[in-house]
């Protein structure tokens, strides 16, 4: 299927222009884009239901919009949104309706028709529901039944509009898996729209982005992730980050100048729950020292935290330690999350020792106190931390004279002096 120079929309309102794309058999193409960007309009035009304002959609050189509906239905199956009003119909009847373009005027199913219906129910995992009425199905089951109905048309192309909307998380994944199996296992060219970016990037063979009046095709999802334009189309004022490594979306923490500041010493996955808990309680969070290949580093940067980083597989440098100390002493709260310590990150242990030595209160948070660090006060969960909103916690209570600000100014010199013996 090939779309050439499509201009689509309704009446005078042009929704998308200059759309050219090719749909190959055996691939799952997912169309993503913000709501109301024109995903449905594009799919309807490809499916031949909506006449384009310009350009053409061709299958084997023939215009989709010039075909008779019966002929078109034999090569394109379509599943649209919305619950159809057929509550009293059984699953088998509904899937049987998919034989519409193949049966005679009375829609009496032949043996071959029945075989195809059986096949369609089997691939979609709906055989056991055959006698159920549509009104008795869950949303996920109904979606699979409607896909079976479209498959019963024996189409080469399957076009679905938002097949995962309104579904719960397991059903969403089930439907996506089904679509991928149909493409890879049965050679159908599947095109589906979704506004769920993470799902799309995980399942698609190709990604089509629809936004602000145009269409961009990425041959691989990895290309999409690395394209800053791609993320921009979904982002609300740069508030969202997409990790190219884990493909997960993260909402950036809002920076609030007046917020109390927390510094977290973590690593190897011990940090993220603490970051999130502190952010939830209104803290501005910084973390360090984290190797750039550490998962904590990934999460922290995705969350938009201030991070003191270190090159992968290098021991923590004095430079990094110095930066960390500087950040820590200007914080209102210092938290240690008991990361596993090895030769490369032992610097973090020294960092904590240094902070304790300076009389700063360091709180230990973790499921259990994995190992003792002298001077660290183990409190267990984040809830036990002395969290005081909008008020600076006196971190240097024992010395009495240090306020947060003075701590910052004096830290520079002291951290410089303490660095030398340790290195």
């Amino acid at each position: 299927m090939r779309a050439r120079d499509l201009r689509i929309g309704y009446g005078r309102r042009v929704v998308l222009e200059d759309v050219s794309l090719e749909i190959e058999p055996g691939t799952l193409t997912l169309v993503v884009g913000p709501n109301a960007a024109g995903k449905s309009t594009l799919l309807r035009s490809l499916a031949g239901i909506l006449r384009p304002l310009g350009g053409s959609v061709l299958i084997d050189g023939r215009g989709v919009h010039r075909m008779r509906s019966r002929e078109r239905a034999r090569s394109i199956g379509v599943v649209l949104t919305g619950r159809p009003q057929l509550s009293e119909m059984t699953v088998e009847e509904v899937v049987g309706m998919g034989r519409y373009p193949w049966t005679g005027a009375l829609h009496i199913l032949s043996r071959r028709d029945r075989e195809v219906v059986e096949w369609a129910m089997e691939v979609t995992g709906t055989s056991h529901l055959r006698g159920r009425r549509i009104s008795e199905l869950s949303d996920g089951q109904l979606q699979r039944v409607l896909i079976a109905r479209a498959l019963a048309q024996e189409p080469r192309y399957l076009i679905l509009d938002e097949p995962t909307t309104h579904l719960d998380a397991p059903s969403r994944i089930e439907v996506m898996r089904l679509l991928r199996d149909l493409a890879h296992g049965h050679g159908v060219a599947v095109v589906a729209s979704t506004h769920e970016l993470e799902l799309a990037l995980r399942f698609a063979d190709r990604v089509v982005m629809v936004s602000s009046g145009s269409v961009k095709v990425y041959e691989r999802p990895e290309e999409a992730v690395l394209d800053p334009e791609f993320l921009k189309a979904f982002s609300v004022g740069d508030a969202i980050t997409l990790s190219p490594v884990t493909l997960s979306l993260e909402v950036m923490a809002r920076r609030d100048e007046g917020a109390p500041r927390a510094f977290v010493v973590s690593g190897a996955g011990t940090g993220p729950p603490v970051f999130r808990a502190l952010l939830r309680r209104g803290f501005s969070v910084a973390a360090g020292v984290l190797h750039r290949n550490d998962v904590d580093y990934h999460v922290a940067t995705s969350l938009g935290l201030e991070v003191v980083g270190e090159r992968p597989y290098f021991p923590i440098s004095d430079e990094a330690l110095r930066a960390a100390v500087e950040l820590a002493v200007s914080s209102d709260l210092i938290v240690f999350t008991y990361p596993p310590i090895g030769p490369l990150n032992s610097g973090n242990l020294r960092l904590v020792e240094e902070l304790v030595e300076r009389g700063l209160e360091v709180y230990g948070v973790g499921a259990d106190e994995a190992y003792g660090v002298p001077g660290v006060r183990y409190v267990g969960s984040v809830d036990e931390l002395p969290l005081v909103r909008k008020r600076r916690i006196s971190v240097a209570a024992r010395r009495g004279v240090w306020s947060g600000t003075r701590c910052t100014s004096s830290s520079r010199t002291s951290s410089a002096s303490s660095r030398d013996p340790s290195s």
């Binding site: 509906s69 239905a73 599943v79 159809p84 057929l86 309706m97 829609h107």
Partner: protein
């Protein structure tokens, strides 16, 4: 239930035909009725009585069957449980066209006052025109209730015009078509019935052909189009078939209300199915049944006074509408 529905309905239809012929001011014994129906000579008064009652029974059968099938088609086409030839004003439009044809035709000497085929064609055109008007308006009025309101008003408009025609034409002809404004089986004649019967039968057969696209339309218009339905052709087809059915019924008995509404609902309840390939024909059988029973009630309830059959059908039809409205819009 599905397997038993057809034989059950046919058996009860036979029973009501027998009852309709037997019951009345003069009681005719059942065996005589059966003899009469089978064409065996029956002597004396009974023969006349049987013939008289048989005409109106067949009229009721034809009219009820047509209305039942038409109602099922319209409900499915408009995806509106309240659709019915009478409610949507299609019957009234048909009878207006018939009255106009009658006055114009006989006035100009083109047709005799009872040329049933000409009247049928006129009635079908009238029904078709109103149906198209309703289709056009249904795209503007999005709600089911709004559509019904539009239909009812169209119906009033048409019957108002019919009354106007009747009152302003000469007294001689008024008698000829007062019943087309009323809806009754009492004025039935073989001379009208016989020519219309094959037309009604053909329309009933045609109605089973529109069932397939109507089924697909249950998925919504766009989905139906993607399944291979040619939207315009199937819509025009469904409207044409229902118009033809309505016209056959109106020529024979005038606009009779609510049979087209109640029959499909009863059948759907009975079968628990949405499959129009079954619903449409069974609605015809059920509608015929309903019409005959209503006719029996109309002439026996206040005997010797005879009620117009619409008075009876309204008794079950109007509450059905109210019930459907209450159920659909959230009151229980």
């Amino acid at each position: 239930m599905r397997a038993f529905a057809l034989p059950l309905l046919l058996a009860s239809l036979l029973a009501s035909v027998l009852a309709s012929t037997a019951i009345g001011s003069v009681r005719v014994p059942l065996d005589t009725v059966v003899k009469g129906l089978l064409g065996i000579r029956v002597e004396g008064l009974a023969s006349t009585v049987i013939d008289l009652r048989l005409v109106r029974t067949v009229a009721a059968l034809l009219s009820g069957a047509s209305l039942g099938a038409a109602g099922a088609i319209l409900q499915s086409l408009f995806r509106n449980p309240l659709a019915d030839p009478f409610v949507l004003g299609i019957s009234s439009g048909s009878s207006l066209a018939i009255a106009a044809t009658l006055i114009a035709g006989t006035g100009l000497g083109l047709i005799s006052s009872y040329d049933p085929q000409a009247l049928y064609v006129a009635g079908a055109l009238g029904a078709f025109a109103v149906s198209l008007a309703v289709v056009a308006l249904s795209s503007l009025v999005r709600s089911s209730l709004g559509l019904v309101l539009v239909g009812v008003m169209l119906g009033y408009l048409a019957s108002g015009l019919t009354t106007l025609l009747v009152v302003t034409s000469d007294a001689e002809r008024i008698r000829a078509f007062t019943f087309w404004t009323l809806g009754t089986f009492s004025a039935s004649k073989w001379s009208v019935l016989t020519p219309v019967l094959p037309l009604a039968l053909a329309s009933l057969i045609a109605s089973s052909l529109v069932a397939k696209p109507l089924n697909a339309l249950l998925f919504g218009e766009e989905s139906a189009a993607s399944m291979g339905v040619s939207l315009r052709a199937s819509r025009v087809g469904a409207v044409a078939v229902s118009a033809s059915l309505v016209s056959a019924s109106v020529v024979v008995s005038g606009p009779v209300g609510f049979i087209g509404l109640a029959a499909p609902h009863a059948v759907r309840l009975l079968l628990r199915s949405e499959d129009n390939r079954v619903i449409v024909p069974l609605s015809a059988v059920f509608g015929a049944n309903l019409a005959i029973l209503s006719d029996i009630a109309a002439r026996t309830l206040l005997s010797p006074i005879e009620l117009p059959v619409t008075a009876i059908t309204s008794l079950f039809g109007a509450p059905t509408i109210v019930l459907l409205v209450l159920r659909r819009w959230g009151f229980r």
